[in-house]
């Protein structure tokens, strides 16, 4: 009788070069599920309080979700977690591709690395052997090249690789981990942790079988989900942009049903938002000080969904995904193809820097993927540099002669190439806007838009205050993947869990800015749900289709044989959130000090554009959100007794 999970994790001590397996009892899975939950539980106990994120005491973990490989859909995401060098807090990054099942087929629910290796190494696991191997010939290679060489060296095309590029090797704090030639686990600067440990890659080719409790039920649920994924209506290329203009004009807002976004994802992918978001005011423009006025329909036209689609050679599906929002695009120039840039990349390198040149965005997308650097943080750093240059804080001498002006795509491209190589101004920016502003001084902080050190993603809190809440109140600051007002509407969790607030089908836009307790309940529910999703290996886009259509909780029950109610799962999500916040408290983070600049909150409010006159009153909602978890509403910290619950004997 299977349980969906493998029941074991692997600990690798890079200093001693020792590999040690550890069995995980069933009770731990029933409390922390797997993926993010399991990582939080293990790392909370095993990383000492004052560990240097780039030192030997930090531990980095690669974890599949519990549901990975069980016959469920949308559950091919894997999780990398460690103490973040960028924010000093709990750090995790999430990615798709096809690495997640490969970890499980090696027989593990997580592979963890501690210590520091004297020389560059990579971990090789196949059905018979598991060992650390010399990686000096791959050190210095970019992530795509290294992956191809490692797969060839393994002698099997089924091998799956996750590796860092130049940015990780050079300990850039905005570097991430790449797999499948460019799918990025980019946030929290985890790439630098791998770089500090001299760990170039993990190379996996296990063959173990994944057993589940009730396979017939898994298939029944998957067929149900597939029916909704396949439902599609024809959509014209400019429809999203037009919808954006309409949404900006209307005084009220319509509760979003995830099926609409699902159809856009199935046709174009996330790039479907390239015009919709700027028009409705969701995209931050010109380093957050611009508005939809500065980045109108004509400016975003060069990257509208149809344009991107024309370059797409083939759709790309992550493991176990029926939707397939990814794609492989062809490119002119040095690199012939690249993963279709995501909306976040197109806006960070486009609208945020006023850069209209699509080719430069494609090229930067590829070199950043190959370097293993987070495209969002890179774009934010470029926008920060341009604004400093515009205000004379950075002179031509500082920028090694680059004319850092809004929209100057050639200069932006060269700047980012310098960041990857840590040359001159590049070295200054390669550690993110917060560190750069501290080094430059002269009042540059006001132009560094981040939360707790993590550059903000391309969603404007002035349009959806939910984002401001999740940027500043979450144990991992500055993330757009954990919750927002829009997300709560699309998850439709109130259809499966009783007592959750329902969303009105039509409501006045002003209602979004009210600081009633219901906002905190919705925010807390988002975080709890996403903690469960990230522990099960789930993908947010699948969950957007709606909880009654894509039934994550039923998949979990069918795979493990548990019989937990949605309420119990949300309680487990709360438990996982609390252990991540406890990790932060243990490592000296003051949750109440994690804020965003007033510019993001609309203080003073903008006078033009979609978010004209909008300001976000963050504090009351944030403390109400914290008390939803039973944390101290002022400090955001869990009580010591609550934290003691997580220390295992």
């Amino acid at each position: 009788m299977g349980k969906g999970y493998m029941g074991k994790v692997l600990f690798v001590d890079l200093s001693k070069g020792e590999l040690k397996e550890e069995t995980i009892p069933d009770e731990v899975y029933q409390k922390y599920i797997g993926g993010m939950g399991l990582a939080a539980y293990l790392l909370y106990n095993k990383i000492p309080a004052n560990a240097d994120p780039l030192g030997p005491d930090n531990i980095i973990g690669f974890l599949p979700g519990l549901l990975t490989g069980t016959g469920s859909f949308f559950t091919g995401r894997w999780m990398v977690a460690a103490k973040s060098p960028l924010t000093g807090s709990w750090g995790d990054a999430n990615c798709g591709g096809s690495l997640s099942p490969a970890i499980k087929r090696c027989g593990y629910d997580g592979i963890f690395f501690s210590g520091i290796s004297k020389k560059p190494v990579y971990l090789y696991i196949d059905h018979h052997t598991k060992e650390l191997r010399d990686a000096s010939e791959y050190w210095g290679k970019d992530a795509v090249e290294a992956e191809e060489m490692l797969i060839a060296a393994s002698g099997s095309k089924k091998t799956r690789v996750a590796c860092i590029g130049e940015a990780g090797e050079k300990l850039s704090l905005i570097s991430g981990v790449s797999t499948d030639k460019g799918r990025m686990a980019g946030r929290s600067g985890i790439g630098a942790v791998m770089g500090s440990k001299k760990l170039k890659a993990i190379v996996l080719n296990g063959k173990k079988r994944i057993q589940v409790h009730d396979k017939a039920e898994m298939k029944h649920l998957s067929k149900l989900a597939n029916k909704f994924v396949k439902f599609q209506v024809p959509l014209p290329n400019l429809m999203p942009g037009m919808a954006g203009i309409l949404m900006r004009a209307l005084p009220n807002a319509m509760a979003q049903d995830g099926m609409l976004y699902k159809m856009m994802l199935r046709k174009w992918g996330t790039v479907s938002m390239n015009q919709l978001s700027p028009e409705m005011g969701d995209s931050p423009i010109k380093n957050w000080m611009g508005s939809s006025k500065d980045w109108g329909f004509s400016k975003s036209y060069s990257t509208h969904p149809g344009k991107i689609l024309k370059r797409e050679k083939v759709k790309y599906h992550c493991y176990s995904c029926p939707l397939g929002c990814g794609g492989i695009c062809s490119m002119k120039g040095k690199y012939k193809e690249t993963h279709k840039p995501e909306y976040e990349t197109v806006l960070a390198l486009g609208g945020l820097c006023m850069n209209k040149d699509a080719d430069s965005i494609f090229y930067l997308n590829e070199i950043l993927n190959r370097a293993g650097m987070d495209t969002i943080s890179a774009g934010a750093a470029a926008a920060f540099a341009i604004e400093c240059y515009e205000n004379g804080i950075l002179t031509k001498k500082d920028t090694d002669g680059l004319e850092l002006k809004w929209g100057n795509s050639k200069a932006i491209t060269q700047l980012i190439e310098k960041m990857i190589k840590r040359e001159g101004i590049g070295d200054l920016l390669a550690d993110g806007v917060k560190k750069a502003a501290e080094k430059i001084g002269k009042g540059a902080e006001q132009y560094a838009i981040h939360a707790g050190g993590q550059e903000l993603p391309m969603h404007d809190a002035r349009n959806d205050p939910g984002f401001a809440l999740h940027y500043t109140a979450e144990p991992t600051p500055g993330r757009h993947t954990l919750g927002a007002g829009l997300y709560y509407e699309m998850f439709q969790l109130w259809k499966v869990a009783k007592k959750l607030p329902k969303v009105l089908p039509l409501y006045m836009k002003g209602a979004k800015y009210k600081t009633d307790n219901e906002k905190a309940v919705m925010g807390a529910t988002n975080s709890k749900f996403m903690s469960v999703v990230n522990s099960a290996g789930g993908c947010k886009f699948g969950m957007f289709i709606g909880a009654k259509r894509v039934r994550l909780f039923d998949w979990l029950n069918a795979a493990t044989g548990w019989n937990k109610t949605p309420e119990e799962y949300l309680a487990m999500g709360e438990n996982i959130q609390t252990i991540k916040q406890s990790f932060n408290v243990k490592h000296g983070i003051e949750p109440k000090n994690i804020t965003v600049s007033d510019r993001v909150l609309g203080k003073p409010f903008q006078t033009e554009g979609a978010n004209k006159g909008r300001t976000v009153d963050l504090e009351p909602v944030r403390s109400a959100y914290w008390s939803e978890f039973g944390w101290n509403p002022e400090t955001g910290k869990p009580t010591p007794e609550r934290m003691a619950e997580f220390t295992n004997p």
Binding site: D214, K215, A216, G561
Partner: protein, 404 residues
């Protein structure tokens, strides 16, 4: 430390007999936190109409149950493999065996595999090798079930298992399943239970915890066997199971008694009569249960003389307190044996001679006796071959055993 000093007794079976016993199955499964049982029927179940009442009982309980109605007459290991594949693929967490003994036997072996892994078939073979409780296992016997399902042993192909964890957790005796059955099978089951219970009840040093079970089994069989057989062929249309006439009640009681008899045969080492009847059944066409009934009085008399079995106590269970109190103490043993022989006579008349009055009627020659006893003593030295021979001879002539 004499026998009365230490005794260990456990009856894990929950008995539930009567109308609507099937309807209690879902509720009982929930006690075990089981939500998706697999129900096994023999391939003849459809004809006997066993499936609909069970299905109906589960439909009202909104509990999903898998139905498999193809258990062959003599199942093999590949049946086990096929069923374990179904059990695991559909995430079943409990087994319900409905109908004949072969389905029960198969279910027990299947439960070993699905509660652990196929390899357990090898490691758990033999005596008490199963270390932990298995998944829930319920039985719903039909009249022909020989009661052996209640004992903790099972065998398939050349594997045999014995363990208290194989004893079913729940026994539901429902008139719709017990229904009609051929007379021969009912007698066989009843007489086998009567002999195992009688030996347990009259042990030289009483086991006070088996006593109630044995007393009840003997009392039930004596009160119901003959009446049920007498109007067994009154094929009353068995539609309305809510109003049970005495025959149906009698049949239910007999099945309960045969199950208890089976359970007792697991707690007590098989008596001399049981082993003799097993061996004898290869030499003639009578089943081992009927032969046990034939040998019972003679075996008991021998046991009373040799080991001091309390045969007078048997009169209480056979005839009830009135007769027991009025019979003088020293004659109670003899009159008990008389009752047993009287039952044998009645069966002879009721089955028009198919069941003989004495062993002579079974058509087994004398040298076949000695050859059989010879073979028995090879594989089991504890056999008191002189005693066996005397029992067989007395049984053949119908002469009570008066000396050894």
């Amino acid at each position: 430390m004499s026998r009365t000093d230490y005794s260990d007794f456990l009856c894990p079976i929950k008995f539930c007999c009567g109308k609507l016993a099937l309807e209690t199955l879902p509720a009982e499964l929930r006690v075990y936190n089981a939500r998706k049982p697999l129900i096994l029927f023999s391939n003849k179940a459809v004809i006997n109409g066993l499936i609909d009442p069970v299905k109906q009982a589960f439909d009202d309980s909104e509990m999903v149950a898998g139905i498999y109605d193809g258990v062959p007459e003599s199942p093999t290991l590949s049946t086990i493999r096929e069923l374990s594949d179904i059990y695991i693929k559909n995430g079943h967490d409990a087994l319900i065996a409905v109908g004949s003994g072969s389905v029960m036997n198969l279910a027990k072996v299947l439960n070993i595999v699905v509660s652990g892994e196929p390899g357990d078939l090898k490691t758990c073979q033999g005596e008490d090798k199963i270390t932990k409780p298995l998944n829930p296992f319920f039985v719903v016997p039909e009249a022909s079930a020989t009661g052996l399902m209640a004992n903790g042993s099972a065998c398939i192909d050349n594997f045999s298992f014995t363990s208290r964890y194989l004893i079913p957790d729940y026994l539901a005796i429902d008139p719709r399943i017990v229904q009609q059955e051929t007379v021969g099978v009912i007698i066989d089951a009843a007489m086998r239970a009567l002999s195992s219970s009688s030996f347990a009840y009259t042990l030289p040093d009483t086991d006070y915890f088996i006593d109630p079970y044995a007393y009840l089994a003997i009392q039930t069989i004596c009160e119901n066997l003959i009446p049920v057989i007498e109007n067994a062929d009154s094929k009353k249309g068995f539609k309305d199971y809510l109003i049970m006439n005495d025959t149906e009640k009698g049949k239910m009681a007999l099945v309960t008694a045969s199950v208890i008899g089976g359970f007792i045969s697991f707690c007590q080492p098989a008596g001399i009569v049981m082993r003799l009847s097993e061996a004898l059944s290869e030499y003639c066409q009578l089943s081992s249960g009927i032969l046990a009934g034939l040998l019972l009085p003679y075996g008991l008399e021998y046991a009373m003389l040799k080991e001091g079995y309390q045969t007078e106590k048997l009169l209480l269970a056979l005839a009830g307190p009135d007769v027991y109190s009025r019979t003088p103490e020293n004659e109670r043993g003899k009159s008990a044996m008389g009752i047993l022989r009287d039952i044998q006579d009645k069966l002879f008349h009721l089955t028009d001679g198919y069941i003989p009055r004495t062993l002579a009627g079974a058509g087994i020659s004398e040298n076949q006796f000695s050859e059989m006893i010879e073979r028995m003593s090879q594989n089991d030295e504890g056999i008191d071959s002189k005693g066996c021979l005397s029992i067989l001879n007395h049984a053949r002539e119908g002469r009570p055993v008066s000396d050894i």
